[in-house]
């Protein structure tokens, strides 16, 4: 009986889609010959396709509903069985070899693949750092930032200008770029300290647009829409490097940056500062009432998020050797934000995975280029429906306490 009603609703969905697509897919008016062509086969394909998709959809929704009720039952039991994903993250026996494998692959990558691949990976790693940086602002401190690309641009332009006009070296500019990003972050942070949620999102969106317009129209400093070219690649103790070697070098530099970012974010997450950020995200009024200085905490989150964007902005400029305002489009902010949301707010592993997937998948799916954005959108919708907490949900650290340990010993 349930099966029949199930099939019936799928059938209704199929008929509805046939009706919707009928004018487009079936009727074809040829205005030259004044004839109407009826493509009935198309109707059949639409019907079959809609039927199957609807069946899969219903099955998935049902499975999800079952999963939810199961979870409730499980949480009433005292010992929960962690899923494979959680076990991978928690059990050293499982994640150490995996981590070793990932590190080995990452280190060997440039020697076994072409330069084209290495370049793709450099950009993917840049996105990883951007994602981790934004994760501090959005994921930990809960400050929705839609203009994150502005800080990335600040870093890139800082290096471009200092290098082409004043001949400053990459290694000097790297920290300068990061610090300039952080400084601009603080400057933006001041006026919007009181804002939250939607209002904050709108202001940061505006800030991102302003930054791009300034790069485009302030010819004297940013060279306008023509952009800045001939930016030096990073040097290594004055070694002469061709493009391929320089790319490999940048790749390793980015690997170091990613490790550095993960290290810093991880330490911050479980510290006094990180806890204050999370408390701010959870409840601002309660947070200040518990003695947390809101202004300082918020500005810290902004500055640190912007710092990473500025830092990789410098690397981005050195890798492409040419930047123009088009590189710092709103789309970039949107993609970085999606990485944080899809990866799981506040979760480092999740953001890294999401950043790699969102960047590498389009590259390796060049064959389906036309449908890229379609797939991208569909994946987002499905993710939010079935796993709104992101790929990896944020697991909180548990602390041990001398008394607790004694109690456990006494019990066990």
């Amino acid at each position: 009986m349930a099966m029949i009603s199930y099939l019936k609703s799928c059938l209704i969905a199929a008929i509805w889609f046939v009706f919707l697509t009928f004018p487009l897919m079936v009727v074809k008016v040829n205005t030259l010959k004044n004839t109407v062509e009826w493509r009935w086969m198309n109707m059949l394909w639409v019907a079959i396709g809609a039927f199957i998709l609807s069946a899969v959809w219903r099955w998935a929704m049902e499975r999800r509903a079952r999963g939810a009720s199961q979870k409730e039952q499980e949480s009433s039991d005292s010992d929960k069985k962690p899923s494979l994903g959680e076990r991978l993250l928690e059990d050293p026996k499982l994640y150490r070899p995996l981590l070793g494998l990932v590190v080995a692959l990452a280190l060997l990558m440039p020697w076994v693949s072409e330069m084209y691949q290495v370049t793709i990976w450099v950009f993917a790693l840049i996105y990883v750092v951007l994602g981790l940086g934004l994760n501090i602002t959005v994921g930990l401190a809960g400050l929705l930032d839609l203009g994150y690309v502005a800080f990335f641009g600040v870093g890139a332009y800082t290096y471009a200008i200092l290098n082409t006009r004043f001949g400053l070296d990459f290694w000097i500019c790297l920290p300068i770029g990061g610090l300039t990003g952080a400084l601009v972050g603080v400057l933006l942070g001041f006026p919007i300290l009181r804002l939250r949620g939607d209002y904050l999102a709108i202001v940061t969106l505006g800030f991102g647009s302003i930054a791009k317009i300034v790069y485009e129209n302030w010819e004297g400093v940013f060279n306008g829409a023509r952009g800045i070219e001939k930016i030096a690649r990073p040097g290594f103790f004055g070694m002469e490097m061709d493009i391929s070697a320089a790319t490999t070098f940048t790749y390793y530099l980015m690997l170091v940056m990613v490790v550095f970012t993960i290290f810093v974010t991880n330490r911050l997450k479980d510290s006094r500062i990180g806890r204050a950020w999370m408390a701010l995200r959870e409840d601002e009024i309660a947070c200040v009432a518990m003695g947390v200085d809101m202004a300082r905490t918020k500005l810290g989150a902004y500055a640190l998020g912007a710092f990473w964007a500025g830092l990789v902005g410098v690397i981005f400029a050195s890798q492409t050797t040419y930047i123009n305002p088009a590189s710092f489009d709103f789309m970039l902010s949107a993609i970085v934000l999606s990485m944080v949301v899809l990866g799981g707010m506040g979760s480092i592993v999740g953001v890294v995975i999401a950043a790699l997937v969102l960047n590498l998948l389009p590259e390796y799916l060049r064959a389906f280029e036309d449908y890229r954005m379609l797939v991208f959108g569909a994946v987002m919708v499905l993710m939010m429906l079935f796993r709104p907490q992101g790929l990896v949900s944020n697991v909180r650290k548990t602390y041990t306490h001398s008394k607790k340990v004694h109690a456990e010993e006494a019990n066990g």
Binding site: L268, D283, I285, A289, M290, V292, T398
Partner: protein, 267 residues
């Protein structure tokens, strides 16, 4: 009251206007060391607004709020930011529970230690000796507080998963983590069953006696208020209508009228 009592909080003629509405009208109130003082009144009397003025969430229109921390000089805290008020030693809980839902119970209490520790961003990244020691102390102290309110077995649970009564107690533990000398409790027994209220009653008295913390509480549960408070202030429509010991308040005609409506006591 013992001889060596000292005023901790002294509020003079506090007035708070919202546009044309006077929510709090010239309220004068004081809390001394080792006291439990209750602030009662019908719904909408302005009790929570009064709390918000004292804790810095609102800036009062007129009046003075003076704080006399033990062995320190007096501060006038009008217009201080909430975090400064808390750092001074006044901690509060909220009428509608405001916990950090997606953090563990222990972390909630650890937030309370924020204003008593000093680790900055650089310190957190480098994790030096000082940072580790502070972190250790924060954890130990937070566990201690959880033990006091009886929530140790929930320590690693998310705050949102706690039963209602436990969430109320967690709010108290979090407030106590800021090392206050005065605890402001906004309807701590709201929504609790009689057994939970009785436990809370004992907890509040225990906090006063063992931790040396004075308490100012807003409460609707008359039994709790009459049981534990030494002095009671009654508010109605923003004004103070009575002040005295539980016995005096119980028989005060104005209070009875405010609670039971006009003509409630002349029958």
């Amino acid at each position: 009251m013992a001889e060596n009592t000292q005023k901790l909080l002294e509020v003079r003629e506090l007035t708070m206007d919202f546009g044309g509405l006077r929510a709090v009208d010239s309220i004068t109130l004081e809390v001394c060391t080792g006291e439990i003082v209750a602030l009662i009144g019908p719904n909408g009397a302005g009790k929570t607004t009064f709390f918000n003025c004292v804790t810095g969430i609102y800036k009062p229109t007129r009046g003075e709020i003076l704080v006399h921390p033990p062995e320190q000089k007096t501060y006038k805290i009008n217009g201080f930011k909430p975090n400064r008020v808390t750092a001074m030693g006044l901690a509060r809980t909220f009428q509608n529970i405001r916990l950090f839902q997606n953090m563990t119970v222990l972390e909630n209490v650890m937030i309370g230690r924020h204003c008593r520790t000093t680790t900055n961003i650089l310190g957190a990244i480098l994790r030096g000796k000082n940072t580790n020691r502070q972190e250790r102390e924060t954890i130990e102290r937070s566990y201690e507080l959880l033990e006091k309110v009886g929530l140790v077995h929930f320590a690693d649970e998310f705050a949102k998963n706690l039963p209602y009564g436990a969430q109320r107690r967690l709010e108290i533990a979090r407030a106590m983590a800021t090392d206050p000398f005065l605890l402001l409790l906004d309807e701590p027994a709201a929504g609790m069953n009689p057994q939970e209220t009785k436990d809370l009653d004992e907890l509040i008295v225990r906090i006063k006696d063992t931790e040396n913390i004075s308490i100012l509480l807003i409460e609707h549960d008359m039994k709790l208020v009459m049981n534990i408070s030494e002095r009671i202030y009654v508010m109605e429509y923003g004004k103070k209508i009575a002040h005295g010991s539980p016995q005096e308040i119980r028989s005060n005609p104005k209070v009875i009228e405010a609670y039971l409506g006009e003509g409630g006591d002349d029958a």
